[in-house]
């Protein structure tokens, strides 16, 4: 039982982390066709926000609750800055945007290294997250369960935003037909900016969750970002449902592979799994529009 529940529960927590990271990516990719390779560094910024908040609000029990909105705003503002200064200038050049954000990511990583040091800092766990819940022989840390709660809340909030708010309707209109949305009065540029803010802010939230598990580290983003991208690739576009399923599938599969082999072999196996999956279901990953082939 143990060999089954342990990877299953730990994998679910990993999946939840991936989900928070992937939600923001999927949102900006779906909305603007922009792959933001600096998204991982926004995650890192969230983690450092949690660290810095603890310097100010020394009570760890409270500071994490302050850190969550703070990280959302910090990462969101970073995203907004990126959108306004760089991405806005290169619409309809998706691959170039991808490369530019790679540069931004490198820059931010080095900046974190210079400001906070290469080693990384611990983030104290609030006392109400200490301890664990025994489930079929696995002592499930509350910290891991907290990630899942966080992911569920983030997902629900985003889904509600998209479905019920007028902003959500504008996003969906822009995704489906940008030109048409403009002609009916949607200010697509403003929508883009808000989308980028929200998507990047989600990365900040994810960063706080990561910091509780592994502390801060300038390379923290790179550890998660590729898996998060694989989630977006496997999940397909424009469907939160796909992202959710893919995130937990990748998280749990990686966890099981790691249990059977090793952490590094698990990465190899997960990558192979995604490529094989694309053989079976490339749908949603490409669109064939016969009236305009350009």
């Amino acid at each position: 039982m143990d060999s089954f529940t342990t990877p299953l529960l730990a994998g679910t927590a990993t999946g939840a982390l991936l989900l928070i990271a992937a939600l923001g990516l999927a949102l900006t990719f779906g909305q603007m066709g922009v792959i933001n390779m600096a998204h991982g560094e926004f995650l890192m910024a969230g983690a450092y926000t949690a660290f810095l908040t603890q310097q100010v609000v020394t009570n760890a029990d409270v500071s994490i609750l302050v850190a969550l909105p703070a990280a959302f705003v910090v990462a969101g503002l970073l995203g907004l800055l990126l959108e306004v200064t760089v991405i806005a200038w290169m619409y309809r050049r998706p691959l170039d945007t991808l490369l530019v954000t790679v540069g931004v990511g490198l820059f931010l990583q080095q900046l974190a290294k210079d400001v906070f040091g290469a080693q990384g800092d611990p983030v104290r766990t609030p006392s109400w997250l200490e301890g664990n819940l025994p489930v079929f022989g696995y002592h499930w840390p509350y910290r891991q369960m907290f990630t899942i709660v966080l992911a569920v809340v983030a997902l629900a909030a985003l889904a509600a935003l998209l479905k019920y708010s007028s902003f959500g309707r504008q996003i969906r209109a822009t995704v489906q037909n940008r030109d048409l949305a403009e002609t009916v009065g949607v200010r697509t540029r403003a929508v883009d900016r808000i989308t980028f803010f929200v998507g990047s802010g989600l990365a900040g939230i994810g960063g706080v969750a990561v910091s509780l598990i592994s502390g801060t580290n300038p390379r923290l983003g790179t550890a998660y970002i590729i898996s998060a991208f694989l989630v977006v690739v496997a999940g397909g576009l424009g469907q939160l449902k796909g992202t959710v399923i893919a995130a937990f599938a990748v998280g749990i599969a990686t966890s099981f592979f790691a249990d059977w082999t090793s952490a590094s072999m698990a990465q190899v196996a997960t990558f192979a799994l995604v490529v094989v999956f694309l053989q079976l279901r490339p749908q949603g990953l490409f669109t064939v529009r016969s009236r305009g082939l350009a």
Partner: protein, 265 residues
Amino acid sequence: MKLDHATPDEVGLDYLEIRDLTVQFDGFTAVDAVDLTLIQGRVHFLIGPNGAGKTTLVDAVTGLVPATGQARYRNQNLLAMRSHRIVRAGIGRTFQTATVFEQLSVLQNLDIAGGVHRSPFALLRARRGVPSYVADALETVGLADLRDKPAGVLAHGQKQWLEIGMLLVQDAKVMLLDEPVAGMSAEEREETGALLQRIGKERTIVVIEHDMDFVRSFADVVTVLHAGKVLTEGTVAEIQASPEVQEIYLGRIVEGVVEEGADHA
């Protein structure tokens, strides 16, 4: 080389035969059990209101969307073949928005179209001179003077002609043209029509068109599609006399307006 193909028809004409062709998208039937026989030497027109299934029909025949039924050409069922194989079997098409390779010259655009039967080794060599079939196509579509211009600078009509030229070079026996004269001036339309009649003698030409003047001037056979079905077929005069067609075109029955706002997010 072509001896092993079955004789197309009693009169020795080439033809594309479509039987019971049906295309469904998520339960919506875009093309509904269409039967059509398209015969060499005539310029066929497919007309019908928006959403009638004209482009979808062409998509199905060229392997862009999956379909049931049959589309037989020289004893091959096109519906079971992949797009580039269908092209190699002699079926060529154009698209509503002209898609040419903007950064390549007119000559290079045409030359690529002739590359289907080249061996991998031949692909590794540079082109020497202009192959005769490319030169012929340049003359036929009237772009000889613009041979070395990048295709991106061509006027809209010239791009459409270049696309037709590419079909000539790839030696398409069946040409499916999706609104080739949309956006053209009256003069360009005339030239395009004359071009189609010129090249149509040895080929099977199918044109999707909205412009009724153009249809009247150049159609040999007209098929009217409506809501995925063949409504009627005949000469221009017959079609114009048909009460059903008049109802659709003049009665302005608003149909097929899909409910917007369905959740796709």
